[in-house]
């Protein structure tokens, strides 16, 4: 591999992220699908789309499994092979990776990949329990360890090893809330301060409620094609030039280190090599900030800074809009929202907007190379994708 396009994104859609009272997941998905179809009038969905992969994490929320077929039906695509992918919060990162496999295999020239989750109709306690299902049962869930708890365990280890602080973590929340205020589709629209974060209610020490991503409803989708035929559908394709996915132990306690995610490092290595891109070549990134600390760790795992210096990077403003490497211009999981199954492809949607110059108030100037980083569970799955604009 030498940086050639693997697949091309010819269209993308995203529902508003937030509360969709009275809607089922499949109905929210149809909102994202409609935007993707409207953006691409040369696409005839029923004729052209040959497969659907959809990320969806939990049957528990709606007592509804088997989302592949349900989503295909509500997208007006019945008949095509439709498969749900599940890798916890990386469910649609895995759907994207599956779409890449499908196109590169030659079995499908055009595929839809997407993701969806409907969460806000459940209580926080219920959502806490459902999310925890993505962690180890017999040694983590059975002992009352929650999802925020797992990331808190990593944060404590990082603070102890490198002196990372709660103020540095708070800066991630402040930055991503600011970005979200420029994104009309983000769940959160208001700016916050470091003081707001530090004074907010404790969830799992040292993580407070403003360190946590949001319980959100939402859906995402993109249309992938073989690069050779992308021009049939659009004058502005975005190419995926690197795709990595990796796994690690389901239990956090079994990992060799608690201060980085080996799955993310492995997935990044694969994606960077395929793309012939180095971390310093990346112009912008959407990373998996399920908790503020997770964004700091992502900087280090992706090679955006030295190990232990992630906190410093955000404090210096380098990852804010206007900085050297803007991260989570959409608002991220933290402030755009985290409908878990939708997140991986929602990150790809932001890359599509940015690399085609359609990101409006949050547009990164002259962006040519982008990266998305989607983490499942406490890091048992990670996917990393590298994107290039057609002009690059």
């Amino acid at each position: 591999m030498n940086g050639k396009p693997l697949v091309s994104i010819v269209s993308a859609g995203l529902s508003k992220f937030g509360k969709h009272e009275g809607l089922f997941a499949r109905e929210i998905f149809s909102l994202a699908v409609k935007e993707a179809f409207d953006r691409c009038p040369k696409l005839d969905p029923k004729r052209d789309i040959k497969a659907l992969f959809i990320g969806h994490m939990g049957e528990s929320y709606e007592h509804q499994g088997h989302m592949g077929a349900a989503a295909a039906d509500w997208a007006g695509l019945l008949g095509i092979p439709a498969t749900r992918t599940e890798a916890a919060c990386a469910s649609s990162g895995a759907a994207l990776r599956s779409g890449v496999y499908a196109v590169l295999s030659g079995l499908a020239d055009v595929v839809m990949v997407g993701g969806v989750e409907k969460m806000t109709h459940r209580t926080t306690a219920e959502v806490t329990e459902y999310l925890a299902m993505a962690s180890d049962y017999p040694f983590e869930q059975f002992h009352g360890i929650t999802f925020p708890g797992l990331f808190a365990l990593m944060a404590t280890a990082h603070m102890n090893a490198y002196g990372t602080t709660q103020e540095q973590m708070a800066k991630v929340a402040v930055k991503n809330h600011h970005h979200a205020s420029l994104n009309p589709k983000a769940h959160m629209q208001k700016e916050i301060t470091v003081e707001n974060v530090l004074a907010s209610k404790m969830v799992a020490w040292p993580l407070k409620i403003y360190d946590c991503s949001l319980i959100t409803d939402g859906a995402s989708c993109i249309i992938l094609t073989k690069p050779e035929i992308a021009g049939k559908f659009t004058d502005m394709p975005v190419h995926i030039v690197g795709s990595g996915q990796a796994s690690d132990t389901i239990g956090l306690y079994e990992r060799k280190t608690l201060t980085s995610l080996q799955s993310a490092k492995l997935a990044a290595k694969t994606a960077y090599e395929m793309a012939a891109v180095k971390p310093e070549d990346v112009n912008l990134a959407e990373v998996h900030d399920c908790f503020t600390f997770a964004e700091i760790m992502a900087y280090e795992d992706l090679g955006f800074c030295k190990v232990g210096e992630g906190g410093k990077l955000v404090v210096e403003g380098k990852t804010a809009l206007g900085g050297r490497l803007p991260v989570n211009t959409s608002g991220g999981l933290k402030a755009k929202g985290h409908p878990v199954g939708a997140t991986g492809v929602a990150q790809a949607y932001e890359m599509y907007l940015q690399l085609t110059g359609q990101a409006d108030k949050r547009q990164v100037k002259d962006a040519q190379v982008g990266l998305t980083h989607n983490v499942g569970g406490s890091g048992a799955t990670a996917t990393v994708h590298v994107y290039r604009s057609d002009q690059a």
């Binding site: 306690a125 040694f139 983590e140 059975f142 002992h143 009352g144 404590t156 280890a157 404790m202 799992a204």
Partner: protein, 133 residues
């Protein structure tokens, strides 16, 4: 030591209820598995023996859970951590009887086998926890 007991997570909890912290040792490559597993991930061996592990260790990292799942809400806030045992293996669990201000990385802890069992339909295992050594 009997080698008849299956090398499973359920058996691990059965031994815990007897006050024993037991790991599986692969007879082919020597890797020690905590929890035990029926197929060695290192050499794919299927022959193991039980080996008793010291329940003493040091705290690697910790957190205090304030927002808990429904089953654990009556306990919140509660401390959990990952403990590195004397043989180097790691195991997570609740930490009982230690004030939050006294929690720190490196704290010496010992497993308590008869701890904080919350009733539930499945699995009906006894929980362990850790206490200051």
């Amino acid at each position: 030591m009997s080698t008849q007991a299956p090398f499973t997570i359920e058996q691990f909890y059965k031994y815990l209820a007897e006050g024993k912290l037991m790991a599986g040792k692969c007879l082919k490559c020597g890797k020690i598995h905590l929890p035990p597993r029926p197929l060695c991930d290192n050499c794919y061996g299927q022959d193991f023996e039980w080996t008793e592990v010291s329940g003493k260790g040091k705290l690697l990292t910790y957190t205090i859970i304030h927002v808990a799942p429904p089953q654990f809400q009556t306990l919140a806030p509660y401390a959990v951590g990952i403990v590195q045992l004397e043989n180097g293996l790691k195991i997570p669990g609740m930490i009982s009887g230690v004030q939050q201000e006294q929690l720190k990385v490196g704290l010496e802890l010992t497993i308590d086998f008869a701890a904080c069992s919350a009733g539930q339909a499945w699995p009906q295992w006894q929980r362990y926890c850790f206490r200051q050594t």
